[in-house]
Amino acid sequence: MWWEKKSGPDPGQRPHPLSAPAARPESWAEPLEPTPRVSDMPNTIQNQTLLGQSMVLHGELTGKEDLLIEGQLDGTISLPDHCVTVGSHGEVKAEIHARQISVLGTVNGNLTAREKIEIRKTGQVVGDLVAAAIAIEDGAYLKGSIDIQREQNQAAARSASLPPAVKASA
């Protein structure tokens, strides 16, 4: 049965933008981790490459460093093991694939993150979000879909695609 517990937490609490969700009903068949607070997110402002405000880039961007975008970028971004932050001045028209994605500026394109996507209140995203966890601050603008893909699901999918010998040794 898809029911929440009647004796659950106070439903009237104003949802602070970064507040954790209410306790999860035990009866839900597919328990999910609560969406993380934005404040819980690791600081991604350190040790990253900066695309400055006056920079305009067209094309495909790949690499092995974290990236902070304060300029304009049009194309694709693929940093599967690193963090991408679109700063408050950043304007991105691109599909972004990264480990974590934070948006404080404007993004037009689909976002895929292996771990987390966060959209701050100044962030504007037109595109579909796919991640293991998503945090959207109240006041943010989003037009698109939200799809949660848990790591265990991804791992199961990877395992299913392995040949039997590899599975046995894993």
Partner: protein, 212 residues
């Protein structure tokens, strides 16, 4: 009067009888109706509230988001053609705010109080677009103000839980258009598909069900 909610929960009642959160008979009905649907596909047409998104995600839903309320409350000029003597609402421009959703693909659409903020001439096209996105058996959820409620157009609503609604504030802005009657809603939707739930909040909760 602003609504403040303490740790003990919403107990304060406003002039209009609004509580900051309240059990929703329509949501009660809705989730019971969808109890065998493990992964509903939901379109939320209200402002993005993390609380609402969390409720949907923990329900196992795939969520689409397109805020239709905020642009209406802002009175964005792009929705109006003021070249003539009488301003004309640009319905096509408004419909362009909808996300790219396949026809007949959604399980539930949360329209919130969009219809109270829209000019009458736009209702049929907007509701028609919503209904075209719903799969057979799909449900459109709307809040409609009662005629006696003159103010509160700028209230934001979100889901405090699967079966409870909350509002950000009582709201002080008067509603721009006359209240929509139950007869109006029946004109907008196929016969026999509308369920109206009366509440003490000054709003009716209206479900429109696409017959399977």
């Amino acid at each position: 009067m602003s609504l403040t909610v303490g740790p003990q929960g919403p107990t304060k009642t406003t002039r209009t009888g609004l509580n900051s959160a309240a059990a929703s008979p329509a949501l009660e009905w809705l989730w019971k109706y969808l109890q065998d649907t493990p992964h509903p596909e939901i379109l939320d047409c209200g402002p993005v509230f993390q609380a609402t998104v969390d409720v949907f995600l923990r329900r196992g839903a795939k969520v689409h988001v397109a805020d239709l309320v905020t642009p209406l409350l802002k009175g964005e000029e792009r929705f109006w053609n003021r070249s003539g003597k009488v301003p004309v609402f640009r319905v096509a421009e408004f419909l362009a705010q909808f996300p790219a959703v396949l026809p007949a693909s959604l399980t539930v659409i949360f329209g919130w109080h969009v219809l109270d903020l829209l000019p009458r001439e736009a209702h049929s096209q907007v509701v028609g677009r919503w209904l075209s996105c719903l799969q057979p058996g799909g449900v459109l959820f709307c809040l409609l103000r009662e005629p006696y409620l003159p103010k509160g157009a700028d209230t934001f609503w979100w889901l405090a839980g699967l079966r409870s609604l909350a509002c950000a504030r009582e709201g002080s802005r008067p509603f721009p258009y006359p209240a929509i009657t139950n007869r109006d809603t029946e004109r907008l939707a196929p016969p026999g598909s509308v369920k109206t739930f009366l509440t003490r909040t000054g709003r009716r909760e209206v479900l429109t069900i696409i017959q399977p």
